[in-house]
C-alpha cells in the first residue's frame, strides 16, 4: 500500500472545464467526478435547480502524489477564489 494524497474539490459546475485543464498536469493519472451536487456556502444556497447549471456544483476527487498536489494547488486556489467552492487534501493509502 502506497501513501498518496486525496484532493477533494467542490466547485460550480460551469467552472469545471477550467478545473479539467488544471488537472491535465503531469502526475495526474485520473480523477473522479460527481455531478449534480448541492451545497451551501458564502455565495448562498446551491440547489441544483434550473437549466443554466449556475446553481449546481460538481465534486472532483483526485488521488495523486503529494508533490503533484503542491504543483497544482496555486492554480486551484486561484480558480476557487474567483468561482467559489472549497478544496481539501488528506493522506490516503491506495490498495
Amino acid at each position: 500500500m502506497a501513501l498518496r494524497s486525496r484532493l477533494e474539490i467542490v466547485i460550480p459546475k460551469p467552472d469545471f472545464p477550467r478545473l479539467k485543464k488544471i488537472l491535465e498536469h503531469p502526475g495526474i493519472e485520473g480523477y473522479t467526478v460527481i455531478d449534480g451536487v448541492k451545497g451551501h456556502g458564502q455565495r448562498g444556497d446551491r440547489d441544483n435547480l434550473g437549466l443554466s447549471d449556475s446553481f449546481t456544483n460538481v465534486l472532483v476527487i483526485v488521488v495523486c502524489d503529494g508533490a503533484v498536489v503542491e504543483g497544482i494547488s496555486p492554480a486551484i486556489k486561484q480558480l476557487i477564489s474567483r468561482s467559489g467552492g472549497i478544496a481539501s487534501v488528506s493522506t490516503v493509502q491506495t490498495l
Partner: protein, 316 residues
C-alpha cells in the same frame, strides 16, 4: 387588465409551483426532467418556426423586423448598464444589462400559446427573432466589463461561439434549421409529439419553473429597492418601446405582441450560463432572481394580456 390569465391553467401551474416552494412542500422535479422538458419546448418551438418560415418566403419586411429586434435588444442592454453602473458596479450592471437586453424563451412560448388560443396569427420568423435576440446583449454586456478589465482570457470569437453553442440556444437554432430544411411530409409524423402535447408539457414545465422561481425569490430580500422596482416596471417600458418599433415597421398584431414580449422579458438561462464563464464576478444571485422571480411572473400574468389590449387598440 384581463382576468383571463388568472383562469389560465398554464399560468396557474406556475403559481402552484411558487406556492410549493413557499409552503415548503417537498414536491420537486429533478434536474434531468427540467432539462428534458425545456429542451423539448425549445425543440418544438424551433421546428415550428423553421417549418413556417419555409412555408412563407423570406422578405424584406421580415429582415426589418429581425434587425429592429436586435437593435432594440442592444439599446436596452446599453441603457440598463449605464443606469446601474454606479449603483451596482460594472460587473453586476453588465449582468443586468445582458439579462434585460436578452430574452426569455419561456415567456415567448407562453405568449405563443396565448396567441394560439386567441386565434391570432404570427410569423414563423419570430422564432428567428427569439434566437437572434438571445446573444447580442450578452456579448455586449461582457464587452462593457472587458473595456475595464483588459486582462480577460476569452477572445471575441470564442465568446460568440460559446454563446451560440450554449445548450438552449443551440437546440433552438438547430431545430429551427431542421424545421427549415426538412421534408415537410416527413415532419407531419412528429407533430403529435411536438404540437399536440405541447401545451400540457408547458403546464408541467411552468409548475417546475415556479418552484425554481420560488427558490430564487428568497434572494430578492437582499436586493435594493431600485433594482426591485426596475424588475417590476421595466417590462412595461420595454414593451412600449418594442410595440412602437412594431408599429413603425408595420408588423402584424401577432408579431407585435411577440416583439413586445421579447423586449419585455429578461433572460435567466443563457445569461447566467455565459456570465459564469466570462464574468464570474457578476453575481447570479442578483440578476437571476430579478428576471425569474419578478419580471417573468409580471410578464405572464399582467404583461401579455395588457400588451395584447394595447396592440388591439392601436392596430384596429
Amino acid at each position: 387588465m384581463n382576468i383571463d390569465q388568472f383562469l389560465n391553467p398554464v399560468i396557474l401551474f406556475f403559481f402552484l409551483g411558487v406556492l410549493a416552494h413557499f409552503v415548503k412542500s417537498d414536491f420537486q422535479l429533478l434536474q434531468p426532467i427540467t432539462k428534458f422538458i425545456s429542451y423539448y419546448l425549445l425543440m418544438s418551438i424551433g421546428l415550428k418556426g423553421g417549418y413556417e418560415l419555409h412555408e412563407n418566403a423570406f422578405s424584406l419586411s421580415i429582415v426589418t423586423i429581425l434587425l429592429v429586434c436586435v437593435a432594440g435588444s442592444l439599446f436596452t442592454g446599453w441603457y440598463v448598464f449605464h443606469f446601474f453602473k454606479k449603483n451596482l458596479g460594472i460587473e453586476n450592471a453588465a449582468g443586468l444589462a445582458a439579462t434585460y437586453g436578452s430574452v426569455s424563451a419561456v415567456t415567448f412560448i407562453t405568449a405563443v400559446s396565448f396567441l394560439e388560443q386567441q386565434g391570432i396569427d404570427f410569423g414563423g420568423y419570430m422564432v428567428a427573432a427569439l434566437a437572434l435576440m438571445e446573444f447580442p446583449a450578452i456579448i455586449q454586456g461582457i464587452f462593457f466589463v472587458r473595456k475595464n478589465q483588459p486582462d480577460q482570457q476569452l477572445g471575441f470569437r470564442q465568446l460568440v461561439f460559446e454563446t451560440l453553442t450554449h445548450g438552449p440556444v443551440f437546440i433552438l437554432l438547430g431545430s429551427f434549421l431542421i424545421g427549415l430544411i426538412s421534408d415537410h411530409d416527413l415532419m407531419q409524423g412528429i407533430k403529435p409529439f411536438t404540437q399536440d402535447i405541447f401545451k400540457g408539457m408547458l403546464c408541467f414545465f411552468l409548475l417546475d419553473l415556479g418552484i425554481v422561481a420560488g427558490h430564487r425569490m428568497s434572494f430578492l430580500s437582499k436586493l435594493g429597492k431600485k433594482v426591485i422596482l426596475f424588475g417590476l416596471f421595466s417590462p412595461f417600458i420595454h414593451a412600449v418601446l418594442f410595440i412602437s418599433f412594431a408599429y413603425v415597421v408595420g408588423a402584424s398584431a401577432g408579431d407585435a405582441l411577440l416583439m413586445a414580449v421579447l423586449g419585455a422579458s429578461a433572460s435567466y438561462i443563457a445569461v447566467p450560463a455565459a456570465f459564469r464563464t466570462a464574468v464570474p464576478e457578476a453575481d447570479p444571485g442578483l440578476y437571476v432572481p430579478l428576471a425569474l422571480g419578478i419580471t417573468f411572473p409580471v410578464n405572464i400574468l399582467i404583461g401579455i394580456p395588457l400588451y395584447h389590449s394595447v396592440i388591439q387598440l392601436l392596430w384596429h
